[in-house]
């Protein structure tokens, strides 16, 4: 057998860069040195940025489009765009980290971010169940560590433990579902699976496999009713880790989910009007997430928990995008997920800077944002953009994301259309809690008047995210056009 390893190496350039970068970060920091943690963080972050940029610039252009290495990988537009997206989001998260982190072991922190990103980029290209699972676990294990990185606070450990336990269980579900699929079809390659499924038709075992897979992805995506870990993790994890969990991880996960469901299991989709399959289940999860997320967010007094419930609501809309992708391709879903990621990274970035400046005990208290406009006009302005984009106010990218996903769902018709109408109705509910954040930042008087000094890297990352949200909102064809 002539295995094209050269081709594989070429296609995996981004991952090679990332892993090499992570190892370099660890190696540089390894010798016993007398540098301050601040310096070590800066050196590590600089190496990390270098790795991410190299992966993006040098790595992404490589490789033939289409399936590679016997169908293990696929370098189609969705894969490349998702890779670029997660690299960009990781870069922003790293920028925030470099500016705000006061954690011990800065090199390990940066290395873990790079390892997690490696997992994300692999998830984006995986075309085969085994690689998909490995990529997902690489990313997840890194994220568990990142969630618990703040060893000085028990909440961080709690977040990591909860995330790890729930994530571990869901990984077991996923693996079980995958093994059933393998048993049913005799293959772990998505293309082969779809051919086999189309021939064999539905079977009870397939239903079990689908349920396992959907439960697992429900956990990963923080969709109701599998969302219970999300508020605790978003609250307890260090802010940059939460940013990564909420943004890049979601984008990569949804790309993988999309690839698994439509090209792989499209034959078992069923339909929304009764025939068994995964489509009705995803629709139900989507509706439950939107309802629960939006209404639970109303009652939150903690901005991190609020963002967690908003993330659950957005997960519902993203799942609607997964459904609609069967009709209109991955464009709308990718646009929504990528721009949502930008806004979330930004919002958590602002929180990270505010928390660093304050000496607050309860992280994420909504009141800590009070008077932000007086303390730092830059942060307040950025937060304004991020939160309004999350709320879906034009001309920001969040609006266009909602618009394209909902119009795709309505064009699909039937219950997908009803879900879109539900989502639009709930967006009015959502505006209330988003305005609560902005009310604190822009309307309420400051509790403490000390100005917040925004570290340069964090400022750069936040400004870049805000600018991207505005530009992509005004010129959405830049992303949507990729998928035409």
């Amino acid at each position: 057998m002539n295995t094209p390893y050269g081709e594989l190496l070429l296609a995996l350039r981004p991952e090679i860069c990332l892993v090499a970068g992570a190892l370099a970060v660890l190696a540089v920091d390894l010798p016993k040195n007398s540098r301050s943690p601040q310096q070590r963080l800066q050196i590590s972050a600089a190496l990390g940025v270098l790795a991410l940029v190299t992966a993006g610039v040098w790595g992404l252009g490589a490789g033939q489009p289409g399936p590679l290495f016997g169908g293990v990988l696929s370098l189609d537009m969705l894969a490349q765009a998702t890779r670029a997206g997660v690299l960009g989001l990781a870069l922003l998260a790293l920028g925030v980290t470099a500016g705000t982190s006061r954690l011990r072991h800065p090199a390990e922190l940066v290395a873990m971010i790079l390892f997690a990103t490696t997992g994300f980029t692999l998830m984006a290209v995986a075309q085969q169940l085994l690689l998909a699972f490995l990529a997902l676990e690489t990313a997840s294990l890194s994220l568990y560590v990142l969630a618990g990185f703040d060893k000085s606070r028990p909440e961080s450990a709690e977040a990591a433990l909860k995330y790890f336990l729930v994530g571990g269980v869901s990984a077991a579900f996923l693996l079980f579902g995958f093994s059933l699929l393998y048993g049913l079809t005799g293959s772990i390659e998505l293309q082969e699976i779809s051919v086999q499924l189309a021939m064999s038709g539905p079977s009870p075992l397939l239903v079990v496999a689908l349920v396992m897979i959907l439960v697992a992805f429900g956990f990963k995506a923080a969709a109701a009713p599998f969302h219970l870990w999300a508020p605790d993790v978003y609250e307890g994890a260090p802010a940059p880790s939460a940013a990564l969990i909420a943004s890049a991880s979601k984008l990569a996960g949804l790309a993988l989910f999309l690839r698994l469901l439509w090209p792989g299991l499209g034959a078992a989709a069923g339909n929304l009007t009764g025939a068994a399959g995964w489509l009705p289940v995803v629709a139900l999860i989507s509706a439950a997430s939107m309802l629960l997320g939006n209404f639970a967010a109303l009652a939150q007094g903690n901005v991190r928990r609020l963002l967690a419930y908003s993330a659950i609501a957005h997960a519902g809309a993203l799942l609607l995008g997964v459904i609609a992708a069967g009709h209109s391709g991955p464009g709308p879903l990718f646009y929504y997920a990528a721009t949502y990621g930008l806004a979330t990274v930004g919002a958590f970035g602002v929180i990270a800077v505010v928390e660093r400046a304050g000496r607050c005990q309860n992280l994420g208290d909504l009141g800590d944002l009070a008077g932000l406009r007086a303390r730092s006009p830059l942060l307040a302005g950025c937060l304004f953009v991020f939160v309004l984009s999350l709320a879906g106010i034009p001309p920001l990218a969040g609006f266009v994301g909602k618009f394209v996903v909902f119009s795709a769902a309505l064009q699909m018709g039937g219950p997908a259309g009803w879900l879109a109408l539900l989502a639009i109705a709930l967006s009015a509910v959502a505006l209330y809690y988003y305005l609560l954040i902005l009310k604190q930042a822009l309307v309420a008087p400051a509790k403490e008047s000390s100005p917040i000094k925004v570290p340069a890297t964090a400022a750069l990352a936040l400004l870049a995210a805000a600018a991207l949200i505005v530009v992509l909102g005004l010129w959405p064809s830049a992303l949507l056009g990729l998928f035409q």
Binding site: F403, L435, V443
Partner: protein, 500 residues
């Protein structure tokens, strides 16, 4: 004509500039804001001079924006939009003049104010529903901050309520327009394109979509029973914001009904016509009666706004050529007059006496302390009643006659509404300004002389007064624009739909 799109860009640029210079100097921010508003108004006047009335939307800009959705950045104007653009320019200029005394965070105030104005110009110029919706939402969001930061009584509640109502309305519009797009198989959101596609939608679905879109817009126009955001919002808002709210923002809703909902679905409009008419009538009477018993000066004006906007909605519902022309004229007229009334109550009286309670105002001889304010209020009140010589007269008369042509009973009930309007207006004039006129010949000993009316206030008041008198004496200025626009196939379909 090609000047008109610049109203939008100038407003946004002015907003940005006001934000930047406002951080250092309040005076600079004021002058930037005034210059921007005057520039916008001047652009509309210049365009109006060149305007050739016609029956179609005259395209100003039409370039592809989002190819994937078939969205074009399409701006166009006809006589109806031009009328409202002129109103926007006037209201914006007057609003800036009446907020000359804003000291708290002036840069942000004027930036939000001008952003709102830019959104309003954009809505009136859009010929693509997507573009219209984008501008519509841009106009909604600043209202929250304008009210929550610079407002008074119960401001955070009022601001949140107002914005949530508006946003819920716009969510209905969004749902309806996406539904129409999908169900009709349209390839874009242009008004012409959508109405061509709407023909293919089954009748039952059309009824539902029309209801969503019309109701969504009508919430912002103060349609009963979804009007409750308006009085609380107006009362909480700072003067300039309530002037804009009543003056132009409520018109956005009515304009959306007229421009989008009705022409896209004329058959569905015919089905819902009686419902809309009766809700409009209920609003006219209900808000009028409430205004009659209010003890807060600003609440009276707030409810009177809802009542007068009821006439606009009635004109739309009656849908005869006369009624529609009257409705557009009433939008202009109410925009100017409501701006004046709020200016007197909020800026001239409240900021000097620090009370809006009619019982307390009654004890002050305000007509002697603030003679200018008294004159302006009396004149504006009479204009609001629809006295001949003011813009309200031709507007409400056209609506009444139009409603009579459609259904005499509607006109009869609406006429009752005019009587009620007369009652609450005269009551509030008497109680607020002439309360103790006969009782004391000299001001009470404890009354301090109030600060005199400033030049900016006088200029703003005269600007709006001039507009209402000019249009009252010469309504043809506007009607010559409006009536030809109603000849377009889209509106003819509405008129035909309303009167089979």
């Amino acid at each position: 004509m090609n000047l008109l799109p610049w109203t939008i860009y100038v407003s946004f640029a002015g907003a940005f500039l006001a934000l930047v210079v406002g951080a250092r100097s309040a005076t600079a921010a004021r002058w930037v804001a005034l210059a921007t508003a005057v520039a916008g108004a001047t652009l509309t006047f210049l365009a109006a001079r060149e305007f050739v009335p016609g029956s179609s939307l005259q395209t100003l800009v039409d370039v592809p924006w989002i190819r994937e959705l078939g969205v074009n950045y399409h701006l166009a104007v006809d006589g109806i939009s031009l009328t409202l653009l002129v109103l926007t320019g006037l209201a914006a200029t007057a609003g800036i003049l009446f907020s000359w005394n804003i000291e708290e965070r002036p840069g942000e105030f004027f930036a939000l104010f001008l952003a709102l104005i830019g959104g309003v110009y954009g809505v009136f110029l859009s010929a693509d529903v997507f573009v219209l919706f984008v501008f519509y939402e841009i106009a909604i969001v600043p209202k929250y901050f304008l009210i929550a930061i610079w407002g008074s009584t119960n401001r955070e509640y009022g601001a949140m309520k107002l914005v949530l109502y508006s946003f819920a309305g716009s969510a209905l519009v969004l749902a309806g327009m996406l539904w129409a797009y999908a169900a009709g198989g349209a390839h874009g959101f242009g008004l012409a394109e959508l109405s061509a596609a709407a023909v293919h939608i089954p009748h039952g679905t059309q009824l539902a979509i029309f209801a969503l879109v019309f109701l969504g817009f009508a919430v912002l126009a103060g349609l009963f029973p979804f009007h409750t955001w308006a009085p609380t919002g107006h009362v909480a808002a700072p003067t300039a914001a309530s002037m804009l709210l009543a003056g132009v923002v409520m018109k956005l809703g009515a304009y959306g009904c007229l421009r989008v909902a009705m022409p896209l679905f004329p058959e569905a409009f015919a089905y819902w016509q009686p419902v809309i008419a009766w809700l409009a009538l209920a609003g006219i009477l209900y808000a009028g009666f409430i205004a009659l018993v209010q003890e807060d000066f600003k609440f009276v004006i707030g409810y009177s706004s809802v009542s007068h906007m009821g006439f606009v909605l009635l004109g739309l519902a009656a849908a005869t050529p006369l009624a529609l022309a009257g409705a557009v004229l009433q939008m202009f007229s109410h925009g100017v007059i409501a701006g004046l009334l709020f200016a007197v109550v909020g800026r001239m009286v409240y900021e000097r006496t620090h009370t809006r309670r009619l019982a307390e105002l009654r004890a002050m001889p305000l007509h002697r302390l603030l003679p200018f304010a008294a004159v302006v209020f009396v004149v504006a009140g009479l204009a609001s009643l629809g006295l001949p010589g003011f813009s309200g007269f031709p507007a409400e008369l056209s609506i009444l006659i139009g409603a009579w042509q459609a259904k005499p009973l509607w006109a009869a009930v609406a006429a009752l509404g005019i009587v009620v309007a007369g009652a609450f207006t005269l009551r509030v004039i008497q109680v607020s300004f002439f309360g103790s006129a006969g009782a004391h010949s000299a001001p009470p000993a404890d009354s301090h002389p109030l600060p005199p009316i400033t030049l900016a206030e006088k200029a703003g008041a005269l600007l709006l007064l001039g507009a209402t008198v000019y249009v009252g004496l010469k309504p043809d200025v506007l009607l010559d624009w409006i009536v030809p626009a109603l000849q377009s196939p889209a509106f003819q379909a509405v008129i035909k739909g309303g009167h089979p």
